[in-house]
């Protein structure tokens, strides 16, 4: 670092050097992670500190690289669905949906309205679940454990809903190519509705503890500012980009799943700082609640899978059991996978963390030739080496918390 740098107030080392040239300005290397409470998983930051302020930062990722893309090349399309759960493991349902939509786009397959409505509810519940954790963990990063506990308790209710719908609390594996695994259970919509009623008061409680609290505001306002240009240049998406003032929401811009039929607003931040990103998540939860209400209000009848997709979606179980034709179809579907045409598609869905993209290259048959997953967290994190320098060490917790990343989809 031979260049001459402007001396700022926080630049203790250079100030000392200026006062006394004999005094060497030394920086301290500090390694944060990969197992550290503030890194939300296995992110590692290698930093050069000058006193308490960060001079350089090099994020090291890959500690959770599990080879998802390689695995996808060796699995049928349906077999890969459980793996999509574990990408953004805070919102498995919406990953499932995004993946299914990508493959359906390859197959040029339209799913029935009911299936779409179910998927919209899934996506939005997943968004609520992810943002609840985002807000809660953010509170925890700022030092308030209790906020985390309150939001997590709310998440538990969501888990119960997921469990009824999909059979698992967490790793839902709910969608199939061409439909969903099963229809919604009786009375489930009512329970979703009552959950939606209960989630806003919890947010108000968090509000009371954090939102206007000066301690919290001092820590987050004007910290970790990402400008519009920088956010775009680093390919950020999702709430983090919107907090910087870009109104990119794929649900509005490239509507899928019939999002164009629902009325909702896209919150936009003005400053792009940590506080905006926090407000963003809280607001998005409210919008999601609104969307879910609308879906429930106009829930269509019909099938939850596309019936005509014989080579893609498995036939009904009782037919498999009794009819030879369906039995063979089932066998073919399992052993050879859903038959896809040759081609390549790129599909992005607006996931809680940002745009989750699947680039599917098919040579035909039931196995993708190449499946590239664009994890939004991967892109959102790449800004760290530029964002962190100039901040204090303590700020990394709030900045990392506000970016709300998941290493599962970052490293894949």
């Amino acid at each position: 670092m031979g260049e001459v740098k402007e001396v700022s107030v926080g630049d203790i080392g250079s100030r000392a050097a200026e006062a006394d040239p004999e005094l060497k300005a030394e920086t301290m290397a500090l390694n944060v992670g990969p197992s550290h409470p503030s890194t939300h998983g296995v992110l590692r930051l290698m930093m050069q500190l000058d006193g308490d302020s960060i001079k350089e930062c090099e994020p090291v990722i890959g500690y959770l690289h599990r080879g998802d893309e390689k695995i996808a090349e060796n699995m049928t399309y349906n077999q890969f669905i459980p793996y999509t759960d574990r990408l953004d493991y805070l919102a498995p349902l919406s990953n499932n949906v995004a993946y299914a939509l990508a493959v359906e786009k390859l197959a040029n397959l339209e799913v029935p309205d009911r299936c779409q409505a179910i998927r919209v509810i899934c996506c939005e519940l997943a968004r609520i679940s992810s943002h609840l954790l985002g807000v809660g963990v953010y509170g925890m990063d700022a030092g308030s454990w209790t906020v985390f506990m309150y939001t997590f308790t709310e998440r538990e209710k969501l888990y119960t809903l997921f469990e009824e719908l999909t059979g698992a609390r967490f790793t839902t594996s709910y969608t199939r190519i061409g439909g969903v695994a099963r229809d919604i259970p009786d009375g489930w919509l009512g329970r979703v509705d009552s959950f939606c009623k209960g989630v806003v008061p919890i947010l108000n409680q968090v509000d009371k503890m954090l939102t206007r609290n000066r301690i919290f505001m001092d820590r987050t306002v004007d910290i970790g500012v990402i400008t519009k240009e920088k956010a775009l240049s680093y390919g950020m998406t999702g709430p983090n980009l919107r907090a910087s003032g870009v109104d990119l929401d794929l649900r509005k811009d490239k509507p899928y799943l019939g999002y164009e039929n629902y009325d909702f607003e896209v919150p936009i931040g003005l400053n792009g700082d940590c506080y905006d990103r926090y407000l963003m998540r809280a607001e998005e939860i409210k919008q999601s609640v609104g969307i879910i209400r609308q879906v429930i209000g106009s829930f269509p009848e019909g099938l939850y899978y596309s019936e005509d997709a014989k080579k893609i979606f498995a036939p009904p179980k009782d037919k498999i059991l009794t009819s030879m034709e369906e039995l063979i179809q089932n066998f073919m579907l399992v052993t050879e996978g859903p038959q896809m045409p040759k081609g390549e598609v790129y599909f992005e869905a607006e996931n809680p963390k940002g745009a989750l993209g699947f680039y599917v290259v098919s040579k035909g048959g039931g196995v993708p030739y190449r499946l590239k997953i664009r994890g939004p967290s991967f892109c959102n994190l790449s800004i760290l080496s530029e964002l962190l320098p100039g901040h204090f060490l303590t700020d990394i917790t709030v900045i990392l918390g506000s970016l709300d990343f998941v290493m599962g989809e970052c490293d894949r």
Partner: protein, 179 residues
Amino acid sequence: MNKQTVAYDSKVEGEVIVTRADAVINWIRKNSVWPMPMGLACCAIELMAAGGSRFDISRFGMEVMRFSPRQADCMIVAGTVTYKMAEVVRRIYEQMGDPKWVVAMGACASSGGMYRSYATLQGVDRVVPVDVYVSGCPPRPEALLDAMIKLQEKIKDENSVKNLLTKHPINKIRKDAVS
């Protein structure tokens, strides 16, 4: 002759005292298992859930999650251990003081789970000795609680007094062919 041995047998008496001391120490350890949450992936969220209000692992005195390995007793490996991460897991394990236990939470940590791939360690028991394996992907918090109770049962039967002087007997890490 026989009567005398009945009256006093240093060996037997000693054993009794030792087992009593064992029981006391084991009781102490059992009720104060402070976990070191090795939250790596999805299971970490269920680990949080276990610490959350609904499942409340604190009832067992285990909510004192110490991120510093020196203060922890039990490492809960929650998530996929990749080869890149394996050395870190091992180092953290080594920093823990005896007695220490390891719970492999979930399929990935126990055996590699669904990630049979080039990057994933096929079971954390190749790096650190595992005391309890929990099935599930991720296991429900209840399953983790069950596993912790199982761990407590295991702690209850340890020869603690003997191990106080010597090093805590560390289960061997697994070195056989991968599975």
